[in-house]
Amino acid sequence: MKATTETAMVTKVLKIAACVGLLMSALFPPQRALATWATENCHGGGWGRETWKRSQADDYAMRAVGEGYEFGGGCYKLNGYDDTPNTATDGGGEGADCSGFTFKTWALKSQLGSGAGFHFWEHRKNIHGPYSTWAYYDPAPSYPFRLISKAYSATAFMDALTERHPDWGHVALIHQEGSSGSDYIVHARNNTMGTELRYLPYRSDADYRAVAREGWTAECYPSRCG
C-alpha cells in the first residue's frame, strides 16, 4: 500500500515538474533557440581563389534571395526562407546585413584593404568582413573598390549603389540594370524585408553613389577573350 502511494506521488511530482518545464520553455523558446541558431547552422568555410567573375558573384547573391537579414551577421542557410524572422536587431539570426552581403558577394578578403585577389566565403560562413557602409560610401585608396559614375553607361551588374547618413547607411548590388533611375537590386535590405530582389530607384536617389569592385575576372575566362 505504501509503495503504491509513493509511486503515485512520484508520478504526480514528475507530471507537475514536466508541466512547469513545458510552461517555462513555452514562455522563453525564441531566446534559447536564437542563442544557438548560428552555432548550430553556420559551419561554412572560406578560401582564397584566383578568379571571381561578376556572373559568379551574381549567382552567389541571388541564391540568398528570400533568406533573412541580420545586422552584423553573414550566415545563410539557403533553404528559401528566413529562419529567424522578426528577431531583434543583432540577435544572432540568419542572414547578412547589407555591407556583409556585399563583402561576401564580392569575395573580398577579411583584412581591411588587403589588395587584389579574391576570397570565397561559403554562404554558411558567419562572417561580416571589415567593411561598413562608410567604407563603401567613401572608400580608402587601399580598398579593392572605388567610386564610379552613376550613369547607366558607367555601371554593370554587380556594381553597388550606396548611401550613408549620420545614423544609418545602405549598400545594394545591381542584378540587372533597368531604366528611369531604377534597377533590379539584390541586397540584404533590413530585418523586416530580409534579403530580396526588387526593382528600386536607388540610382536616381541623390543620396546614392555608385561603387565598383576592382579586378573582376573577365567573363570569357578561361577562354581567350576578344
Binding site: R63, T84, S182
Partner: protein, 452 residues
C-alpha cells in the same frame, strides 16, 4: 536518501525533461525543416516593358533572368527571341536576343517600329526543349507599344538647377511616428538598416488622404484638410500600396512574391481577396474593371474577374498590360526615350490622343514616373523624377491640350522611406499635387498647386 531529497531530484528531473521537450519544439518551430532550393525551376524574366517608342527608330529591349534558388545556369536558358508584330503587318517577325550581362538584349529594327506602333512578346528556349514566354500568354497577351508620331517636342523652359526648388503652397497634414491610432509606424534607421515609414498613400475623389501603415497593418484616413478621420484595420502583413476607387472603395496589395490583393468596401469591410500569382507585387491601381497589381516595371496584372472571384494565375499572366486606366477610365502614360527625352501621352475628354515629347537639359535623366493625368481642358499634369550626378528633383509639368508646355517647375523629391516609391507623390483634383516628406518625428503632406 530522504523523501525530501528524492522529491527535489524528481522535481529537477521533471523540469529538465519538460525544458528539453519544450526547447525541441521551440527550435523546430523557429528554424523549420531544411530543404534545398527548387531544381529545374524555370527562369524568372525581369523585363522593363516598353509602352512608347519613336517610330522608325531602333527599339532596344532588355530582359534579365533570375533562377529561383540557384545559379542562372540551373535554368539553362539557351537562347531568346523577341516576336514582333508591326502595326499594319500580318505576320510576326523574330528578333534574336544577344546575351548581355545576366540576360538578353533585343534590338527591334526601326523599320518594324511603325507609326501606329507594334506588339511584342519574348520567348526563351530552356534545357530539354522547353520554352518560357513572357508575358506568359505569348502572342495572345503581347505588350503593345504606341509611338511618338505626331507629338510635338518641347524643351525645358529656361535654365535648369536642381537647387532651384519651388516651395509648397502649404502643409496639408502631419502624422507623427508612433503606435497610437492616429500615428504611423516606422522601422530601421540605425546601423545598416534602411528606415521605412508608411509605404504609400492615395487620394480619394473627394480629396481625402488614405495612408498605408504597413507596420500596424492598417490604413489611416485623413480629411482633405488633413484632419484624422478613421483607421481601417487590414487583415494582412506588409500592406505596401493602397488605391482608392471612384466611389471611395479601396484596394490594397501586400508586398513581394506570392502577394495578396484585397478589395474593401467604403466601410473598410473586405469584399474580395485575391492571390497575385505572377511577379513581385509592389503597387496597386483601381480601374473601372477592378484592381490591377504592379508586378514589374510597366507590368500590371488583373487579379479578379468580378468582385470576390479571383483570376487564376494563368489568366492574370494573360491579362498583363503595360499600362492601365485610372479610376475614371482614362489612360495616360509616360516613357523615357533615347537622348534625354521623355514622352507623355494622354487621352482628351473626347477620346482623342494628346501628348508631347519633353527634351531634358543636357545630362539630366528621367527618374521615377509618378503620374500623368489628363484634365478636363484636354491638357495634362505630369510628375516625373529627374536626376543626374549633381542632384535629384521632381518636375511638375502642365501641358496644354495641343501638347505645349504651359509650366515646368522643380520640387524636392518626396521621402525615400515609402517602399512604394512611386506612390509617395499623387495628383489631387483639380490641379494640385500632394507629396510626402519625412523627418525624424513623422511625415507631412505638402500641397503644390500646378500653374497653367
Amino acid at each position: 536518501m530522504s523523501a525530501g531529497n528524492s522529491r527535489r531530484r524528481l522535481l529537477v528531473a521533471g523540469l529538465v525533461a519538460g525544458l528539453a521537450i519544450g526547447a525541441a519544439v521551440g527550435a523546430t518551430s523557429l528554424t523549420g525543416a531544411s530543404s534545398e532550393g527548387p531544381q529545374g525551376a524555370p527562369p524568372v524574366i525581369l523585363h522593363v516593358a516598353r509602352v512608347l517608342a519613336d517610330p522608325g527608330v531602333d527599339l532596344e529591349l532588355m530582359a534579365g533572368l533570375a533562377c529561383p534558388g540557384g545559379p542562372l545556369d540551373a535554368c539553362a536558358v539557351d537562347s531568346a527571341v523577341a516576336h514582333v508584330l508591326s502595326s499594319g503587318s500580318t505576320g510576326w517577325t523574330d528578333v534574336d536576343g544577344t546575351p548581355d550581362g545576366r540576360g538578353f538584349r533585343f534590338v527591334v529594327p526601326g523599320a518594324s517600329v511603325a507609326e501606329d506602333g507594334l506588339s511584342y512578346w519574348l520567348e526563351f528556349a530552356i534545357g530539354g526543349g522547353g520554352h518560357v514566354t513572357f508575358p506568359e500568354g505569348g502572342a495572345a497577351s503581347a505588350f503593345h507599344v504606341v509611338t511618338t508620331a505626331g507629338l510635338p517636342e518641347v524643351e525645358w523652359p529656361g535654365g535648369f538647377d536642381f537647387a532651384a526648388l519651388r516651395a509648397s503652397d502649404d502643409v496639408v497634414a502631419q502624422l507623427r511616428y508612433g503606435d497610437d491610432t492616429s500615428q504611423v509606424g516606422r522601422v530601421g534607421g540605425v546601423g545598416d538598416e534602411q528606415p521605412l515609414g508608411p509605404s504609400s498613400f492615395d487620394v480619394a475623389p473627394d480629396g481625402s488622404i488614405h495612408v498605408a501603415d504597413w507596420v500596424h497593418r492598417r490604413l489611416l484616413v485623413l480629411s482633405p484638410r488633413g484632419a484624422y478621420r478613421r483607421t481601417v484595420p487590414l487583415p494582412v502583413s506588409r500592406p505596401v500600396d493602397v488605391a482608392v476607387g471612384a466611389n471611395g472603395e479601396l484596394a490594397v496589395t501586400t508586398l513581394g512574391l506570392g502577394a495578396t490583393a484585397f478589395e474593401l468596401g467604403v466601410d473598410g469591410r473586405v469584399i474580395g481577396r485575391y492571390g497575385v500569382g505572377t511577379g513581385v507585387a509592389e503597387r496597386i491601381a483601381l480601374t473601372p474593371g477592378g484592381p490591377h497589381v504592379w508586378v514589374g516595371p510597366a507590368q500590371w496584372a488583373p487579379v479578379r474577374s468580378r468582385v470576390g472571384v479571383a483570376l487564376p494565375t494563368e489568366a492574370q499572366s494573360r491579362g498583363l498590360a503595360s499600362a492601365v486606366p485610372g479610376r475614371d477610365g482614362t489612360v495616360a502614360l509616360s516613357q523615357d526615350l533615347a537622348d534625354g527625352r521623355v514622352a507623355f501621352v494622354w487621352a482628351r475628354p473626347d477620346g482623342s490622343r494628346a501628348g508631347a515629347v519633353l527634351r531634358l537639359p543636357s545630362g539630366v535623366q528621367p527618374g521615377v514616373d509618378y503620374f500623368v493625368r489628363g484634365l478636363p481642358d484636354g491638357g495634362a499634369i505630369a510628375a516625373r523624377g529627374l536626376w543626374s550626378e549633381m542632384g535629384e528633383a521632381v518636375a511638375l509639368l502642365r501641358f496644354t491640350s495641343g501638347g505645349g508646355l504651359a509650366s515646368a517647375e522643380l520640387i524636392a523629391p518626396p521621402t525615400h522611406e515609402m517602399d512604394a516609391a512611386a506612390s509617395a507623390l499623387r495628383f489631387r483634383a483639380p490641379d494640385e499635387v500632394l507629396a510626402v516628406f519625412a523627418d525624424e518625428h513623422g511625415i507631412r503632406f505638402e500641397r503644390f498647386e500646378v500653374e497653367g
